[in-house]
């Protein structure tokens, strides 16, 4: 049934000799314990890495020799191997290490001990399980690269949400957030407002100071306005010189107050570019989600209409959407 088993006496002796050579060459730690968890055998990998001496450990209890092991938990785990006759496992992903062993990359990685995958195998002898073989494999590399990969993925995830120039949210992420906030506001019957705004005469500014000057203005304005917002507000670059802010759980009154504050703050602030002072203004449109709005796009449309009104009325001012029923409440 079992191929590879050598029956002949000579081959048996040879196999014994060979297997001890192999176990001592392996890059895997091997530790064999009996049913009382006393150490019966180990290989040289473990001897080298644990800097312990054979004479001191053979016959001793594993928990006395490796005092770092979580005794209660590991005893229970080993008991499952003895009782059920099945292998059990412990991965670095759940426990970075069991045995405190040094690893081969102490400089390039930030972990103190070798990350390990451990396997606990039942060793059957005439039907009874009398020993457990513990295999310890070095997973430090995998652990290290997994960490690097995760960092890179987190960075990518952030980059895919951020506008490269202004470092605020990009259009795609902003719109997804609005979509979510729209659903939340509908579900929980909460207020939701939107501010859309635009830098006044931006084309003129670009012509006068060059595109680098224009970029500097976009960056500085984003910073200034960002500092006026709450954490839950979602501030994004809608396109070109147009921006938008989603204000969850905010009725139009609060949104109008914030819009006024933005308008005044921008008007008062001065941006320095190549030793020249640049003064800019913004026009803002504000809208609150109403019963009749069937989608988040309708809300954008209303805020956009209000923004055009602010532009047409002479810029540097705030207008709110005409259609909403909230205006009377706001002025009352």
């Amino acid at each position: 049934m079992n191929p590879g088993v050598l029956t002949d006496e000579i081959s048996k002796k040879f196999a014994e000799k060979l297997s001890s050579k192999i176990t001592d060459q392996l890059n895997t730690g091997i530790l064999i314990v009996d049913t009382e968890f006393n150490i019966v055998m180990w290989n040289s990998y473990l001897q080298v890495h644990s800097t312990k001496v054979s004479n001191d450990i053979i016959g001793k209890n594993i928990f006395d020799i490796f005092s770092e092991l979580p005794q209660r938990w590991l005893s229970r785990k080993l008991a499952s191997v003895l009782q059920l006759g099945t292998p059990n496992f412990c991965s670095w992903e759940q426990r970075r290490h069991l045995f405190e062993l040094p690893h081969t990359r102490p400089i390039t990685t930030d972990c103190e001990f070798m990350a390990q995958n451990c396997t606990f195998l039942p060793m059957q002898d005439d039907g009874d399980i009398e020993h457990i073989c513990i295999l310890i494999e070095d997973a430090t590399d995998v652990c290290h690269y997994q960490g690097q990969l995760q960092k890179a993925l987190d960075k990518l995830a952030l980059m895919s949400r951020i506008d490269g120039l202004t470092q605020i949210y990009n259009r795609k992420h902003w719109q997804e957030s609005l979509e979510q906030e729209f659903a939340k506001a509908r579900r929980h019957e909460k207020a939701l407002s939107l501010i859309m705004f635009d830098l006044d005469n931006f084309k003129h500014l670009n012509d006068h100071y060059g595109h680098q000057g224009g970029d500097e203005v976009l960056i500085e304005i984003s910073k200034t306005i960002g500092s006026l917002l709450r954490v839950e507000d979602v501030f994004g670059r809608y396109g070109g010189e147009e921006f938008a802010i989603v204000l969850p759980e905010t009725p139009i009154k609060g949104a109008l107050e914030l819009a006024e504050r933005i308008c005044q703050t921008v008007e008062k602030s001065t941006i320095t570019f190549k030793d020249k002072d640049i003064n800019v203004t913004v026009s803002l449109g504000v809208a609150q989600l109403s019963e009749s709005d069937t989608s988040f796009e309708t809300l954008i449309m209303h805020a956009d209409d209000a923004l055009y009104l602010a532009k047409n009325n002479g810029r540097n001012q705030v207008c709110s959407a005409k259609t909403t029923e909230f205006l009377q409440q706001a002025s009352a």
Binding site: P3, W73, L84, G85, T86, P87, S91, T119
Partner: protein
């Protein structure tokens, strides 16, 4: 695909083997857990490649999936997936005999999965005079679609999945999970040979 399907006799025979394996496994478990384990007769369905992801996605409510590969002689091999719903895993540490602060929730899921899979398959293997080894169990990342992604990335093409619904009741609380055994074509043929050998002996 059609010739891979089991005949009615083969299906019955397999059901019987699984019942016995599950019975013995739960007996061992009861001793290990030091508690009475009541086991319902496991229900078995064979699921084809196309519909497995759909079947499992229907029970999507924040589930956890633990996967573990197995391989034995004569090309019997595959992968076991243990699928849990959120509420299934409330008191696992208790069930396993650990203190809750000794191990994380993930570790509890992996531990019970490995125990269920290996005790069950060990008994199953001994019934068909085989011996099975296992790879380390892995918890799949808890994202939507992670199961379908995982199925796409398997190292073998599997042609048949056996979905075994396991239901354990342990004295004062119940524990549920689905065990799905993914088996490649060659392994199915080998199992069929074994099933027919057993059927002939009857």
């Amino acid at each position: 695909m059609n010739q891979l399907r089991l005949t009615e006799d083969e299906q019955d025979c397999l059901q019987e083997l699984i019942n016995v394996a599950m019975g013995q496994a739960s007996d061992q478990l009861a001793r290990y857990l030091d508690s009475f384990v009541y086991l319902k007769v496991p229900s078995i369905e064979s699921v084809d490649a196309d519909s497995l992801a759909t079947t499992l996605d229907q029970q999507q409510s924040a589930m956890a999936v633990v996967s573990q590969g197995f391989f034995g002689y004569e090309g019997i091999r595959g992968e076991a997936l243990l699928v849990y719903q959120d509420e299934d895993s409330e008191r696992l540490a208790d069930l396993l005999g650990y203190e809750p602060d000794e191990l994380s929730k993930d570790e509890q899921l992996i531990d019970i999965s490995s125990i269920l899979t290996t005790t069950f398959l060990n008994v199953f293997a001994s019934q068909i005079e085989n011996q099975i080894s296992y790879s380390a169990p892995k918890l799949l990342p808890s994202r939507a679609n992670s199961l379908s992604e995982h199925l796409d990335q398997l190292t073998f093409n599997w042609d048949l999945a056996l979905k075994v619904n396991i239901n354990y009741q342990v004295t004062d609380y119940s524990f549920n999970c689905n065990m799905v055994l993914l088996i490649p074509e060659t392994a199915i043929n080998n199992i069929k040979v074994v099933l027919n050998r057993i059927l002939e002996e009857l």
